[in-house]
């Protein structure tokens, strides 16, 4: 069964090793700015990984058809030989999770490492999980419910 990434933000300590592993794997350098996963630290008390959910919103945005779905992993991948770095996919992504690589001049986006994501393998805190689709979906529903609950608590 296919899998997908799930974030457990409360587990994140903000160490940013996932970003470094991502840039190491894909670019062979250490650079958190050239990673497809993003960890934000905001005060007070927020550390959270943000990952592409492979929703496919960017699929139609590419004028060169460089963005294609990998049928095996379900990942939306950017074919680097076709990508011209025009940035239309950045416009299309509602989550801000496609970025532009200023060195190689093409878009950076999560490709699930071909089905074996480095960020998950190296997260000691279990803040990023790679789960079967049904378990992931169930987890996300629970999180959404908790989020609503928190909103109610904050209001009253």
């Amino acid at each position: 069964m296919r899998k997908t990434l799930v974030v457990v933000a409360t587990n994140c300590t903000g160490c940013r090793r996932c970003e470094m592993w991502c840039s190491m794997k894909h670019k062979k350098v250490i650079n958190t700015e050239r990673s497809a996963i993003h960890v934000l630290r905001r005060e007070p008390s927020i550390d959270t990984p943000l990952v592409c959910l492979q929703c496919g919103n960017c699929l139609g945005a590419c004028p060169k058809d460089a963005i294609q779905r990998n049928k095996k992993t379900g990942a939306i991948e950017i074919k680097l030989d076709l990508c011209t770095g025009c940035g239309f996919c950045l416009t299309a992504c509602p989550y801000g999770l496609i970025t532009m690589d200023k060195v190689d001049k093409h878009a950076i986006k999560c490709d699930l490492c071909g089905g074996d994501p480095e960020c998950v393998k190296h997260c000691k805190e279990d803040a990023i999980l790679y789960l079967d689709l049904e378990r992931a979906a169930s987890y996300r529903r629970e999180e959404a419910a908790k989020f609503q609950q928190k909103k109610v608590r904050d209001t009253y």
Binding site: R16, M20, K25
Partner: protein, 635 residues
């Protein structure tokens, strides 16, 4: 030269002339000492005149990173602040975590050197090799958090990292520190006072530059090996409870300094323990950049007299200093004190210690109530402890005297106070009781270049008290370790030399020392550091050469002090350390023969036993002949 791991550039900012210069890394220095504090020590001994006033424009301060800083090495979130200390007049380096060090490299530099003195308050904004000097008049007098927020807004870069001084640094409190990322401190020795003396309020850094890797496949393999080793790390509960986990451990073992080192156990230790902190006040754990351990605390007191907004810490040292050392069992007041110290930019160890010293003097009748602004200095009075934090940072009343540090305060109060003052070379003792914990630690307090220190360059007790081999037997570490209470005749000099070199390795590579203890496959050993260094940088350094570089670094720091007039006569311990402990499992223990331990230590390094100064021959062996022109040598 093409650098991997390193960036290859040094940024030099002269605040007097406003000249900004970018220099290449010096290959000879890299070859000798690799980087970070070792490289900075070499620069400072070459560039500073001996005998300068640390708070004058002649002093320089260096923000130093190493080749492993900001990389996947699991402890590489560090920078070292290196300078001549206003507190000790000696060599000083202070390590800090957070993300400031890694950001220096991402901004395009390995080192930032600050020289001269600005006429008006300024701050620096550095990103991707662009350096700007900004006016900081509007920030002067503001605390760390507010200044950080204002700067981040002005430069419009929420991901930037800011190192800043607070009011204590502006007022040149001798133990003022530099705080980066709001709550991580380059704590000891008064680096904040130096920035204050230079009218430099802050440095903001950000960047998106690559750290290049020489052999990516090998590097990923070695890092995975390091991660596996650290999954067996012996202090696993440090993740859960952070450094405050030591409160209960040290208390049980009779080495928790209590009532200004008069006792070694604290009846209320449970009240101020890491377990209690985690249960009642911890919001979450926070890691420094790239750290797989994540020992950082992030806590708040949400209501009551000591209500405190979310903040990094408190760490073990802070809790022990403001807690047991002052007989204070009110953890909320400690969290408050930690918050205030962070916001004023003040070393919590020295601050807590100088307050406890004042209480001790007061109890002994050395000070009258009028002399201390009519404060009730009874042991454990948390109101007064918090009051004194404000007074020291603002230099109000008695705080103005305490702001000069324990040694100077004692000098002003007379010989009775000097007898009970606890410092080495002017640096206040941290919260590890050497009489109960490890005699090697006592030796370290005496000889560490920056004065009494439990962490520079390593946690000295790791061998005889901790029983950690840490990969060192391969280099001749005596095994099994000697008894922790034993002194001379147990190869402690040889063992301690290796403990130092292991610590110094992480310091010259730009790493935190916390991953360095354990069995040989449970921590970052010199061997593992060597593998990481080679695959990352391509430098062809054997493990032995890595140890040699560490020894050079340690020797240069020693020579820096020799040049300032330090010798064996300064490698001392306070009188109290020679008196038997009154309580706990280590009752009746004391330092019996420091002189013999010093002999063993100097001998292990090949230094002259009479003067405690490196001999020409030992410098020659280390390819450090150039130092012989700089220091008075014993032929």
């Amino acid at each position: 030269m093409d650098y991997y791991g390193y960036i290859g550039k040094i940024l030099r900012v002269n605040l007097s002339t406003k000249e900004i210069r970018v220099e290449d890394l010096d290959e000879i220095s890299i070859n000798l000492v690799l980087g970070c504090s070792g490289y900075a020590a070499k620069m400072l001994i070459e560039e500073l005149e001996p005998g300068i006033d640390p708070l004058s424009s002649a002093n320089k301060i260096i923000f130093a990173t190493g080749p492993l800083t900001g990389t996947l090495c699991p402890s590489g979130g560090s920078y070292e602040l290196c300078f001549k200390s206003p507190l000790t007049k000696s060599w000083c380096q202070s390590r800090s975590g957070g993300s400031f060090g890694p950001k220096i490299k991402k901004a395009g530099f390995d080192f930032i050197i600050i020289e001269g003195k600005s006429e008006k308050p300024v701050y620096l904004w550095i990103r991707n090799e662009v350096v700007e000097i900004h006016d900081a008049f509007h920030l002067w007098g503001r605390n760390v958090e507010t200044s950080t927020n204002i700067i981040l807004k002005e430069i419009d870069a929420p991901d930037a990292s800011v190192a800043v001084i607070g009011v204590a640094g502006e007022n040149m409190v001798k133990f003022a520190c530099v705080i980066n990322d709001r709550g991580r401190a380059a704590g000891r020795g008064g680096g904040g006072a130096i920035l204050g003396s230079k009218n430099l309020k802050a440095i903001a850094v950000n960047g998106s530059m690559d750290i290049r890797v020489h052999n990516p496949e090998k590097f990923m393999e070695v890092i995975t090996k390091a991660e596996t080793a650290l999954s067996k790390y012996p202090f696993e509960s440090i993740n859960q409870f952070g450094t405050p986990l030591l409160v209960n451990i040290l208390n049980t073992n009779g080495c928790l300094p209590t009532k200004y080192f008069n006792y070694s156990t604290f009846t209320d230790a449970e009240e101020i323990s890491g377990e209690k902190l985690t249960e009642k006040y911890l919001i979450k754990r926070r890691a420094c950049f790239g750290c797989s351990m994540g020992c950082g605390r992030y806590s708040e007191v949400d209501e009551g007299k000591w209500a405190t907004p979310p903040q990094e810490g408190p760490e073990y040292e802070t809790i022990a200093m403001f807690g047991a050392l002052c007989l204070n069992n009110d953890l909320e007041s400690i969290i408050r004190s930690n918050y205030l110290c962070n916001n004023y930019g003040m070393d919590t160890i020295s601050t807590g210690s100088v307050i406890a010293f004042l209480m001790e003097c007061y109890e002994k009748g050395i000070l009258s109530k009028q002399q201390v602004d009519n404060l009730d200095l009874s042991w454990g009075n948390s109101n007064v402890i918090v009051d004194l934090v404000h007074k020291i940072a603002r230099r109000e009343g008695i705080g103005n005297l305490l702001a000069e540090g324990t040694a100077h305060t004692a000098e002003q109060l007379g010989p009775e106070a000097q007898k009970i003052a606890l410092h080495v070379k002017g640096m206040e003792l941290p919260a590890h009781e050497p009489r109960g914990e490890s005699k090697t630690l006592g030796l370290q307090y005496a000889v560490s270049p920056r004065g009494a220190c439990h962490m520079h360059p390593n946690w000295a007790s790791t061998w005889d008290s901790g029983n950690f081999e840490s990969g060192l037997t391969e280099f001749g570490m005596p095994w099994p370790p000697a008894d922790k209470f034993a002194e001379e005749g147990h190869k402690k000099g040889i063992a301690y030399r290796l403990v130092i070199l292991h610590g110094e390795i992480s310091e010259i590579l730009g790493c935190c020392i916390f991953h360095s203890w354990g069995g040989k496959d449970e921590c970052l050993t010199p061997q593992l550091y060597g593998e990481i260094l080679r695959s990352l940088t391509g430098l062809n350094k054997s493990n032995e050469q890595l140890l040699l570089a560490a020894e050079r670094s340690w020797t240069i720091k020693k020579c820096f002090n020799v040049r300032e007039g330090f010798s064996r006569k300064d490698d001392r311990l306070p009188l109290l350390m020679f008196k038997p402990l009154k309580d706990g499992p280590a009752k009746n223990e004391c330092i019996k023969n420091l002189e013999a331990m010093l002999d063993e230590y100097y001998e292990a390094f090949g230094w002259n036993k009479i003067s405690g100064i490196p001999e020409v021959e030992s410098l020659r062996k280390l390819d450090l002949e150039f130092l012989s022109e700089k220091i008075p040598l014993v032929e």
